[in-house]
């Protein structure tokens, strides 16, 4: 079952990456070589066009919160795939695999958003790991 979930997610991850290129060129803003892996907690989700935005507090080496903002796909596509902004709540622990903005700000393009239980949020269809999926550890 774990293997099946991994295979499904691999396909879904790729499908989720596609809509992000629609609005404008990825290369206009982001550097594909500047990979960031952000482990933090959700502050806010903005569910508006042209991209959803996730605001995350990530602890630095001193344990201080550093705010990041990462863009996801277009809300219309996500809505059609069964997702809503309620898939993430303030305080949720997430890991974002992203590509940093060329201007060096704490801005990224999120390639994937993963919960501690391994489920991917906003990837593929919501039935595969969305709000109906088991909650992450520590959540009610």
């Amino acid at each position: 079952m774990k293997t099946k979930m991994v295979l499904t997610m691999a396909g879904l991850l790729v499908a989720a990456a596609l809509p992000m290129l629609a609005h404008h060129s990825f290369a206009a803003e982001f550097d594909d070589s500047k990979k960031v892996m952000l482990k933090g907690s959700v502050v806010k989700v903005e569910w508006q066009n042209p991209h959803i935005w996730l605001y995350v507090d990530v602890k630095d080496e001193n344990g201080k919160d550093v705010r990041w903002q990462c863009e996801g796909g277009p809300p219309n596509t996500l809505t059609r795939n069964g997702w809503t902004k309620d898939a993430l709540q303030p305080g949720d622990a997430i890991t974002i695999d992203g590509r940093r903005a060329k201007d060096g700000t704490n801005t990224c393009n999120a390639r994937s958003v993963t919960l501690p239980n391994g489920h991917m949020v906003f990837a593929g269809s919501a039935e595969d790991g969305g709000p109906k999926a088991p909650k992450a550890e520590g959540q009610q």
Partner: protein
């Protein structure tokens, strides 16, 4: 370098089926081509289209586990491995100089123009009557109307989407468009075109669930000869197009992470 980065991003997504909407979508309904009261094919419906960030690539059926676009990993400045576009010297110079980091009009929510709207991954609704064909793209809520007519008006005011007239060639709907303002690019990867571009699109509704689509780019300023791209649109009766305001939260632009573009038709400095 920017095109390599774009190419790498495209490689990352090329293993999956073309459509951005979920897992490839349900099979379209089967049946004969619907027709208008006068017997002509009716193209009305909400359609899924393959996202086409690079019109120089022939769209092929995705092979299981394989790349969607032929030679996608070879996207590079010299187009090695791609269909070789027949650039004029001026066209090649424009192509070589393109760097979206220096300005991206779509990132600034300026009009996408005709070909980039057709290329977009979001749904398209076509509405048709005896006088007009209406193309309603969810992308940025752009629309464009083609009217059934034999010729374009004289003295057109150049525009982002051009002036389109519709004609029948048997059961194929031919959309002929001129009058572009030259401020757009053909596709996301940045292939150039001039204000003299002439676009010929051919829509053939082969059956209830499919449109065979062919677009010809005829632009002697930029390309030495016309060239084509072909795709298949798939009917999605389970979809309705949604509003898509590009401007409502375009943080990329209003926070300065990307730049818009100046009008290339205007001189760089005032005298």
């Amino acid at each position: 370098m920017s095109r390599i980065a774009t190419g790498l991003a495209l490689v990352a997504m090329c293993a999956a089926p073309a459509f951005s909407q979920g897992r490839g979508g349900p099979k379209p309904p089967e049946g004969p081509t619907p027709r208008m009261p006068d017997g002509k094919p009716d193209f009305s419906g909400v359609w899924a289209r393959p996202y086409t960030p690079d019109m120089s690539m022939q769209i092929r059926e995705a092979k299981p586990g394989g790349a969607l676009y032929r030679d996608l990993p070879n996207i590079s400045k010299d187009q090695k491995g791609q269909v070789q576009l027949p650039f004029t010297p001026a066209g090649k110079a424009q192509w070589d100089a393109y760097d979206p980091a220096n300005g991206d009009y779509t990132g600034a929510c300026m009009p996408f123009g005709l070909t980039r709207s057709v290329n977009s991954p979001d749904p398209l609704q076509i509405m048709q009557n005896a006088k007009y064909v209406g193309f309603l793209w969810e992308q940025n809520t752009w629309f464009h109307i083609a009217r059934f007519a034999n010729e374009h008006p004289k003295n057109l005011t150049p525009s982002w989407f051009g002036d389109s007239i519709a004609k029948w060639d048997g059961d194929t709907l031919v959309i002929d468009t001129i009058g572009f303002n030259g401020r757009t690019r053909l596709d996301t990867i940045g292939h150039p075109h001039s204000a003299q571009m002439h676009v010929i699109e051919r829509y053939t509704r082969t059956d209830l669930g499919h449109i065979a689509y062919e677009i010809t780019i005829d632009d002697p300023v930029t390309y030495t000869q016309p060239w084509k791209n072909v795709r298949t649109f798939t009917l999605r009766p389970d979809w309705e197009i949604m509003e898509y305001s590009c401007e409502e939260n375009n943080k990329d632009f209003f926070e300065g992470h990307i730049k818009g573009t100046q009008d290339p038709n205007k001189p760089a400095a005032s005298k």
